[in-house]
Symmetry: C3
Amino acid sequence: MPAPSRRTVLLLVTVLGTLAAAPALAQSNERPLQKAVIQVSDNDVQKWNLALNNARNVQDDLGGPEATDLEIVVYGPGIGMLKSDSPVAKRVADALKAGVKVVACENTMKTQKLSYPDMLPDIGYVTAGVVELMKRQKQGYAYIRP
Amino acid sequence: MPAPSRRTVLLLVTVLGTLAAAPALAQSNERPLQKAVIQVSDNDVQKWNLALNNARNVQDDLGGPEATDLEIVVYGPGIGMLKSDSPVAKRVADALKAGVKVVACENTMKTQKLSYPDMLPDIGYVTAGVVELMKRQKQGYAYIRP
Amino acid sequence: MPAPSRRTVLLLVTVLGTLAAAPALAQSNERPLQKAVIQVSDNDVQKWNLALNNARNVQDDLGGPEATDLEIVVYGPGIGMLKSDSPVAKRVADALKAGVKVVACENTMKTQKLSYPDMLPDIGYVTAGVVELMKRQKQGYAYIRP
């Protein structure tokens, strides 16, 4: 029985290489990091505290900042959470120090005539909070709306 | 060195064709359209306006109706948003004109003794709002709950 | 023209077998069961009833307990729903009988100084409600937040 020709073997290697890539593509959302995007869109201090508790509980339960990728997206009536006079300013600073991303919606800021100096230090900004929530879900982040 | 036989080549072509299809199947949720389903289940005009703002912001930011597939699902205490006397009737009409789908939950309508003539024109209907939300998420829509 | 050698055929069979497995892996979230995780985190009896209605409507519409996998996750200010004096105790019992999982967040219980005897019978427990919500979404459950 003759061995398969070199060209046949070459083709099979190409085929097997592509095969190995296919499940990898399909599983690209399953990175080791536990990822969640947390929405804050209510004008409600209790909700702000709950969102911050949620982030802390996830880090405590899942192995700290190294094992988690958390982002709090603040928009609409929730924007007061990130103004410089926010009643949860200290807790937002703690969350940022713990590696939680906190981002404000610039569309909301425009509507409410807020500019960057009106906001807490070290937070991030996105053009549209709702688009950020869509983008993150597409990237495999769980959605949490406290 | 002999060339691979025709039958070997034929088999390889079949294999490569199937391989090309495998990642396509895996990525079937990643169509170019940016898709989101927006839930309205509160009896709260501010929430209704926020949901409509959200839809408009997504279209503005992501390239208009051609680039987005948005559906607002209204159920439970939110159903008043779609009654013919809705305080946001004009804005719902604008959203429909902009290509946003707006659907009412028939289970809720039954409970609240509402029939189709009681509702805004041109909206859609689903048997159960919550089932629609499940179906859309399975189809790769992001979930937004303003 | 010579037929392909046995070794070539064997390699092709291996390749085709792997190919058949690739889409299966990619679609592992699409099991026949319709799965949803329902969040209750408000101190609001109307929301508790809405969550229980949602679970019942999903079962009614999608073929009963055999066809659905539903879990209600209760945390934060929502925890009162699962205390033994809950105004919806009877409805929670009915949901459990209908095969809906109902779980309480132990982090919340600790904060509110609640222990197991304070809670409704037959419910389940998770360390952190928010982590459960992340886990379920990763497993392909739709997220519903009434």
